[in-house]
Subunit: 379 residues, 4 copies
Amino acid sequence: MATGVWLVGARGSVAATSIVGAAAIRAGLAEPTGCVTELPQLQGASLPPLGELVFGGHDVADTPLAKKADALAAAGVVPARLVAAVAEELAAADAEIRPAPAVATQREAAALVAGDIAAFRDRHRLERVVVVNVASTEPLVQPHPAHDDLDDLEQALGGTTPVLPPSSLYAYAAFTAGCSHVDFTPSTGARLPALAQMATLHGLPYAGHDGKTGETLVKSVLAPMFAMRNLRVRTWSGTNLLGGGDGANLADPGPNAAKASSKQRVLAETLGYEPQGHTRIEYVDDIGDFKTAWDLVTFTGFLGTSMRMEFSWHGCDSALAAPLVLDLARLTAGAHRAGRSGALTEVAFFFKDPLGTVSHGLAEQWAALAAFVRGLGDA
Amino acid sequence: MATGVWLVGARGSVAATSIVGAAAIRAGLAEPTGCVTELPQLQGASLPPLGELVFGGHDVADTPLAKKADALAAAGVVPARLVAAVAEELAAADAEIRPAPAVATQREAAALVAGDIAAFRDRHRLERVVVVNVASTEPLVQPHPAHDDLDDLEQALGGTTPVLPPSSLYAYAAFTAGCSHVDFTPSTGARLPALAQMATLHGLPYAGHDGKTGETLVKSVLAPMFAMRNLRVRTWSGTNLLGGGDGANLADPGPNAAKASSKQRVLAETLGYEPQGHTRIEYVDDIGDFKTAWDLVTFTGFLGTSMRMEFSWHGCDSALAAPLVLDLARLTAGAHRAGRSGALTEVAFFFKDPLGTVSHGLAEQWAALAAFVRGLGDA
Amino acid sequence: MATGVWLVGARGSVAATSIVGAAAIRAGLAEPTGCVTELPQLQGASLPPLGELVFGGHDVADTPLAKKADALAAAGVVPARLVAAVAEELAAADAEIRPAPAVATQREAAALVAGDIAAFRDRHRLERVVVVNVASTEPLVQPHPAHDDLDDLEQALGGTTPVLPPSSLYAYAAFTAGCSHVDFTPSTGARLPALAQMATLHGLPYAGHDGKTGETLVKSVLAPMFAMRNLRVRTWSGTNLLGGGDGANLADPGPNAAKASSKQRVLAETLGYEPQGHTRIEYVDDIGDFKTAWDLVTFTGFLGTSMRMEFSWHGCDSALAAPLVLDLARLTAGAHRAGRSGALTEVAFFFKDPLGTVSHGLAEQWAALAAFVRGLGDA
Amino acid sequence: MATGVWLVGARGSVAATSIVGAAAIRAGLAEPTGCVTELPQLQGASLPPLGELVFGGHDVADTPLAKKADALAAAGVVPARLVAAVAEELAAADAEIRPAPAVATQREAAALVAGDIAAFRDRHRLERVVVVNVASTEPLVQPHPAHDDLDDLEQALGGTTPVLPPSSLYAYAAFTAGCSHVDFTPSTGARLPALAQMATLHGLPYAGHDGKTGETLVKSVLAPMFAMRNLRVRTWSGTNLLGGGDGANLADPGPNAAKASSKQRVLAETLGYEPQGHTRIEYVDDIGDFKTAWDLVTFTGFLGTSMRMEFSWHGCDSALAAPLVLDLARLTAGAHRAGRSGALTEVAFFFKDPLGTVSHGLAEQWAALAAFVRGLGDA
């Protein structure tokens, strides 16, 4: 039996790249480069095969996936020949995309979303479905008393004033439909006490937050390097220039604050202190999907000697994110199958702002991930 | 009882910085920044305290240590106030530096060197002495049949034709004197079958090769990052600009080849394949002790998308090396005390070109090092 | 007869570096590196000699110049041996620094300042005095009707509500005292119609704005390069990290906006269109006087091919500014002596935001400067 | 009447990009971005219109131009849609490409080449033809006595031992056919006394050497910046990583030396002294046509303060070169029409290693170029 991947933001760049890629790899037209779960150290019968994933989702946009994929090909994110070769699969996934529901209460909206997901599962006789949030980043959410308790939340959802941000409403709907959940964005998603209760109650696992694709990935190996060498980092200042839809959204002060805060967490937690400097995100339309990040690190060595390091990262965010979305869908489905519920802290490897109290060093996260996959057995 | 550190190249930049630093830290005038063995995770009673190291050594130069330290202060490598504050300790170490012996056969030279070391040990009633090579890099050595067997070597040393490169002759002398040995350079040192036999025979540990201070340190965390993310590195090309005595020496084709080969090893062994590109070393007198390295990495991600990363590293080699020299002296003395003999493969963390078949990823090397220190116990 | 240089902000980093440098060069202890007016192409009898400048000024701070110079030496901006060698000259200049006047109306304040300057001129029997603003950058000024007409301004200055920003009040005082004026900062200074009238009326020249020391200097040669090659710049995004007093001030939103706007002007005026991207200024205390700027330029070439350039600039702002302050004092005094009055548009070479409608390309500015110096004759 | 452009190396990347681009611009499918002679300041009736150039040439390769253009499109150098749109023009140019002659003496070879060119001119009733060398770089040439005198050369060409390098033989053939000549490579071309005599004798102009497309272009604006600011450049060290056919060729020690020497000339001649450091060229197949250059510049400012600048240039060499080839063909044809003969020193703007004793600063070169175009009149 196949596994479903229900993408919130299913017509965005990351979703489209994931769907094109999964189809191209299944057809033998591309290597699974960038897919961590295809590395020998992580392979095992416990994860649903990459070739057996079925895609659907929600999106407010109605541009067809095929058109989105053409735009990605024009921008150099995916090869045009692959887009052409998987046209049929794109059309099939597109037919499984539903609009965001427009109803009076969030309770009704959640019920409709959960219904869409359940119908998708039934229609394709899927063993299970993983809901993955790849929608635009939300502003930092306002706290609300009903966020802390599931009973209060259930009640509040019946009112006409929205109580949950969209990302959390989708997580609520996923749990209602008996599905696990992955948040690939810095949005709130399942990160509320009431939703944690719900996941445990329903025996469902969830993972997050904020896919670690570029600058923060590099930070998560460089910061431990300085720490292991007992060198004192004084300044760590970063500039991120990015275009595309994600860039335009992150240039808004709200989402920008959410993202920048997520990006600096690795430093304080790895080094044990917070160096000077900030991370800045600037939207530059012309840069498109290829983000450029520049970081300056100044540090002190033996007897106080000042030294410095700079790096530039020029990466395609969608191409870096898409294989990780496939990885996380497989890992979360595998965890669900193995009976795991609650926060999957062992997949911190994939996230800028991981759940739980975990190491931010990439190597320790890798070791935790490998142990996790082994622990899922060969069920 | 104190521990001796016998530096081959005792009047060079790295040696002088190490001696100034050890004295300054002992006097409470400087923090042990850059000293790995001072990190909480590695502390333990099994290592000789940093404050109980006594320094001596050999050098062909006769510029006094105090003068060398003044030059380092002028170049910004060490603070002038620290050099002034430890003048007495510098004079004491300087009084323990012996010239390279000038005699007819290498056997006689080794005996004289061993005698110098033993006299140093007796004079200071040292528990033991670690011999550390911080001299200039030698050209790649010509193979010689006597390198493969200790008996053959003993015999060949009696001839008037030199059979060992200087770095190996010092290792031979160290073992003769019952001392452990560290090679902080890419030179041959103890890395010959005959010398390995000798170390085992005498129950002596040795460590090496080529201190990992800058560009290669960064490589040893970035290369595993690409590997863990299943990204395909296509090109890794590096340029090293360095001045000072080490730079002038490395600009010679012989030592340059030795160094550059040592620097690329981490890539092939971490990635499992060799990307395109080379590492170039250029001598630029004006740059002095502050080395600038620039690396370009191009890599392929999901569906073949091309991406790239660049980094610049601007570090002071002597300031990066000196604390590691102190670390290695302490670790090797601790291993000697605990009865370890032969190649210390567990200290690969410190080296570009480590002994044995070991991981080149910094995080795995760190784990091995921590386990090693724990294993030495609290004897 | 000597020429006076009256520095507004006389105890700041730029002022102190200028005074130390002028004294050191006069004493033959340093080369005039960085002094443009010492280049063969610009030398001539029309400018007062570097060695005959006499320094005084105003400052709200009361830290003695000698102490400021010691701090600059500790930070690596000036050599400690030079500071020690010119202690007498520093004390002499320090004795000529007056506090900012604290009185009821701006008219009274201007009269006191003008009196201080005139007394300085008389005391030293100076041929003339140039007033140079090297104080901290002000926020963008609020327009006021009295800014547009000298008569209105004269009247408004008598009220108790301040009508001029401090930088402009000093320019007013300079003109009152019969002195020429240079604004080395982005502040308003003499850049008001009423003050332009006043300069013309009194036959006084003035120059400005905002010394071009680092990133913008580079822009002023790279932007013409792209223009001359008919390459289309798409993005030009800059990040400036700086510490020191100037950095802390520029991190305030007000001065930051003034500075950033001044920095982008060169692009629009050289290219003929405004590329995407912004210039960001971040205060990082640890970086001190050595600023790091990073710029990314993306551009389109033949048939639409996308290309890119990045540069990092690591410069000491005070060391870059100080020789230009000396140059401008000499050039403005020379213009004054030659009977020039009003805006000196020919010294645009020195400024980010030059007066008048002038080329922003460095080479054209250089040609204009050379012609200007030749035009001053050998009087 | 139209003007012919005879490309030596007519099936290489630069030639193919030039031909595609000229056709696309003529058809109104692309802007003349990168074409300097299309800037308003340089336009005039004295140059043959871009749309009236007719292409032919010699090449040892027999891959059709259309196939080469497809490869360039796949590599991202030119848009595939443009290649498709100009298929007819590519085929027409391809039909005008002749193989290199294989005969016993260089005299015979030159006669055959000249015959090919003359036939091309007649067939298309061209007003005149410009021969442009865009072939691979040759090794530095061995001096030969016959290089110094035209009579000696004419005689030596009759022997069976080659006396001229291929680039010079083509220049000789061009002059024989009454055509002007441009050398876009660092090869010898017309740069021999005997050939200079020949050009003057026949009343023919020639231009060269080595198109200034990337790193050296940037040097030619940055080096004057340091000079104009009286800053002392200490080190200028460059690394060029390039792939493609040009890269493979330049990795050979011979051509590499020719190129690297051409690249450093700008520094010594602009600064008036030679800073430390070298330019290195490394061939990295994976990088393809997009070259990456990294330069480190260290410099000294006021009172000896050390500062630094780094830049990375990521440019497509063929896309940067092609519009300049079109520019040079137009300019040289215009000069020929206007009766100019001998070395065209006024087009130094385009070259790394320009003919004659000229400024290496880009702005002065630009001024010389603009004056040159104006001087050609509107004939």
